[in-house]
Symmetry: C2
Amino acid sequence: MIGTPINDRKAKRREATRLEIIDAAWAVARQHGLAALTLREVAARVGMRAPSLYSHFDSKNAIYDAMFGQAWHAFLDLVDATDPDLPGEPRARLKAVARQFFDFAVADVPRYQLMTQQVIAGFTPSAEAYAPAVQVIERLRQTLAQAGARDDQAMDLFTALVSGLVSQQLANEPGGQRWRRLIGRAIDMYADELNLPAPPPRTTAARRTP
Amino acid sequence: MIGTPINDRKAKRREATRLEIIDAAWAVARQHGLAALTLREVAARVGMRAPSLYSHFDSKNAIYDAMFGQAWHAFLDLVDATDPDLPGEPRARLKAVARQFFDFAVADVPRYQLMTQQVIAGFTPSAEAYAPAVQVIERLRQTLAQAGARDDQAMDLFTALVSGLVSQQLANEPGGQRWRRLIGRAIDMYADELNLPAPPPRTTAARRTP
DNA sequence: GTCTATACTGTGATAGAC
DNA sequence: GTCTATCACAGTATAGAC
């Protein structure tokens, strides 16, 4: 009795409603802040009463959980889509990765707060929602290894450096560029510490090595 | 009618009650988390009912505000008390400053969250409570200038680096040492970028330059 | 299955008696 | 100052309409 057209349509409708609710929740979070999200307001935006949300989510934290998974999945998709376009030169590659994370973080502050900080009191992401975050870390590990940073400490130092730039930007000058402009300098500093090769001098020819 | 012994005693008693309330609030925050703090529980710990707290604080956020100011003031006092004992050699000095901030942050997570992140929904610190934080930044600016890092970018890079180490430690391994152990490496990396002099080779003599 | 109405508990905050 | 009583609003459990 599973997989019939009727059940497919029901499941699709159900999933569509879930997405509507999550979208509404993002809208409320962006407008009033992540912690100020209320079920009544989310419900009102999708034309329901608050208790009706419990037909689709077990609790308010389950909504946060779905949002958490969606956010990390969006970043994972971005990472995978961008990968072929990344520059081959190690330093430029690391800078591009750092700027990608930075820009994604700064573009939607409540999303970034949910992804990284423990802003919500009793919320801990489920293993399922956390999975894409693990995959992002794995992609980063590969990128760093490719650039010549193979030990775990180099990885930890990179994440600390980039997340530190983001957190300072958001805390002290949200919407600004003061710490974003430091990314190039910061990554060069990092690459020097790892003895990564300096970028080759610019030439017009030989854009690809055969 | 101000400054009489009776008014002094009243003011002291009033200030003592305020401190009792703040201490109770810290205890609740450490036990249940900063955001899970409730006026009823704070009041119970000082033998009151919740509405009585409004005789001493205008709102719940006013309690957070007093906690915020107290926390930064405690760190400022620590910084000033430690200053004469800091090593003179620039790199060692920067490492000591970084470890001091790191250890203070990690020692009391709710305190650090209140000091740096926007964990509380509608809370913005007052100018008065923020003052000691500004002084801490000023001390840091002096320390960095003394070590040879005089531009604003160097300051921003330092704060990003250290706060990044803290945030990664707290997010991924609270109570551990994984990122703390990176402080030496991170600060050396930073000092190299600023072309600070390398530390002198260890000798038993000449511990001070005449 | 999906939604509503209702109600329970707990929150920060206010009003007024003592 | 501190109390009791009360309010508006939150999350959420339950029962029942369709």
